[in-house]
Amino acid sequence: MRGADYVIKRTGFAVVTVFVAVTLNFLLFRLAPGSAVSNLSRVPHATQETRLALKRQFGLDKSKPEQYVIFLRELARGNLGVSFENSQPVIDNLKTDLANTLPMVLLGTVFSIVLGTLTGVIAAWRRGTAVEHVTVTSALGFYSMPTHWLALMLVILFAGWFPSGGRVDDFLINPTWFQHVKDVLYHMTLPALTLALVLYGQYTLIVRSAMLETLGEDYILTARAKGLRPWTIVRRHALRNALLPISTLIALSLGYIVAGAILIETVFSWPGIGRAVYRAVLERDYPMLQGAFLVLTLSVVFFNLVADLVYFKLDPRITT
């Protein structure tokens, strides 16, 4: 089969990266000075039994190398300790948070990919004209704004039209399914829009430079000499080939999306994984911070792998 090697190699890299991330996670938290950080059992307001149970589960009285092995074992079982803040298992908190984050991030990202590709293509095609200058300047503008500040600007601008915080209206009693979805979408508008605008700037610039590179290729000149219409050349010849680097670069922007989600959820009190990071920092809730960091890293590694495989599917030239 074509490029089984490639798939195995990329998957192998992803697995090793996960391992590196998990190890880093252990080193950062358990080897840090001060037992508040390294001692998972110091859950405030917890009963003596809970603390002892945690101590036993994670082997906190054993040596560090032993703790590392136990940490890996508990991780494989989905045990990340107990949150200092609400005394619930970290893994349960993270599941709820992730379920809240994904729709918002997905909406913003998809929207910006569509819009960014469109404007990027136009900017490259209309190189050197006023259209390009306006597009590139606006893209650079959005790219330059601090994410949380842009979020606050939208709150100021749209105050009263869209809710500026939370995920649902708490006063909506016994909503039907349809009412609930509508309410969530209504609350989602501003956070998703912020993410979309921030990413829009970045994607426009990426797509533009990828398109400029392909437009310089000789086959574009050939297509032009054949007398094809410009729009056909852009669509069928240039964009199709430009999509390859674009897909990689979008995958690389995942880290950016994660950072954006943390800042945006903090501003809009969106009860997702990003806000969990913020709360964990604020409350010095180290088990939660550790768990959230792990989830964010894993999702970035996972989507990077997906992008690699998509790239492989798109580009028939890859064999190894």
Binding site: G128, S144, M145, W149
Partner: protein
């Protein structure tokens, strides 16, 4: 065999020409001119903050969230402190963090890139593997975790940002060094007995300098952004007022719901202008130095192969 008789230092690349290239690019592109002018202006004001700030940094000069007026063009913050003064001092700290973190990241990234590209083989494989892992792990969450564990201080912020930003520099530099080390004059220098250190510093580094500068400017922008983000999440140095800290204070002390837009719009806008001017300079340099962007067979205005230094209208 005149070459062998010369001092190794005389068998040199047209180094001065390359160095001038950076300046030429900046001079001939309006976006780069605007970018560098604005950046210089902000740096200047930040440097002179102790002399030209209209009020004291901790001086309460009026009511909480006082409106903009003739004596306070940007109003007052939540502690009754003049916003203009705050912005000047804030830009100072933000720039210090931006420049210092970039210096750290350039040293690490430059060293990794040069070593990997110059020595190749095992060194390259090992260093690039490490770089790959660092790229795969999202840096802002990692910064947050490290900053949260280390505790808030300006030094920690600089180190956290600097030590996690070097990956793209390392990549770019490595690719360049790989191509430069194969060039004839480098091989010639090697054949007449120049040591690694000499070759790297006298022949390789000057060649990649323009790209290194472009990368530095872009890294400054990211470092400033990251500082704002970390400060916003409450991880900034509580005793130093940076632009990120000004935004955080305004957000935490309900500037938005009090309608005090003047306490929150200017600091963010200033950060955006800072990042924008760095991006403009960096982009113009990269565009000019990347030969693949110079040809376009299909565009509204037809472009022919144009010289390395573009003329004004083709900015960006």
């Amino acid at each position: 065999m005149s070459v062998a008789l010369q001092e190794p230092g005389l068998v040199e690349a047209p180094r001065p020409a390359r160095r001038r290239a950076v300046w030429q690019v900046i001079r001939h592109r309006p976006s780069a001119v605007i970018g560098s002018t604005v950046l210089l202006l902000i740096v200047l004001v930040a440097l002179l903050a102790p002399l030209i700030a209209p009020y004291g940094l901790h001086q309460e000069v009026g009511p909480v969230f006082g409106h903009p007026s003739w004596s306070h063009p940007l109003g007052l913050d939540d502690g009754g402190i003049d916003m203009v003064t705050l912005l000047m001092w804030g830009a100072r700290i933000s720039l210090v963090v931006g420049f210092a973190a970039t210096l750290v990241s350039m040293l690490v990234g430059g060293a990794v890139g040069v070593l990997a590209g110059y020595f190749g083989r095992t060194t390259d494989v090992v260093l690039m593997r490490i770089t790959d892992y660092f790229i795969a792990i999202p840096d802002v969450p990692l910064m947050i975790v490290v900053a949260a564990i280390w505790g808030p201080s300006l030094f920690h912020i600089v180190m956290v940002i600097g030590l996690l930003l070097w990956t793209s520099t390392a990549r770019v530099i490595r690719a360049q060094v790989k191509s430069v080390r194969e060039r004839v004059y480098v091989q010639r220098a090697r054949s007449i007995g120049a040591g690694h250190v000499r070759i790297i510093f006298r022949h390789v580094l000057p060649q990649i300098a323009p790209l290194l500068i472009a990368n530095t400017v872009l890294t400054i922008a990211v470092a400033i952004f990251d500082e704002t983000a970390l400060s916003f999440l409450g991880l900034g140095d509580p005793s130093r007022i940076s632009l990120g800290k000004v935004i955080e204070n305004a957000f935490q002390r309900t500037a938005v719901s009090s309608g005090a837009w003047w306490a929150i719009v200017p600091p963010g806008a200033l950060v955006a202008v800072l990042i924008l001017s760095c991006s403009l300079i960096g982009q113009a340099l990269e565009d000019a130095l990347n030969p693949r962007l110079r040809v376009a067979h299909l565009s509204a205005r037809r472009f022919r192969l144009r010289p390395l230094v573009g003329r004004g209208s083709e900015a960006l």
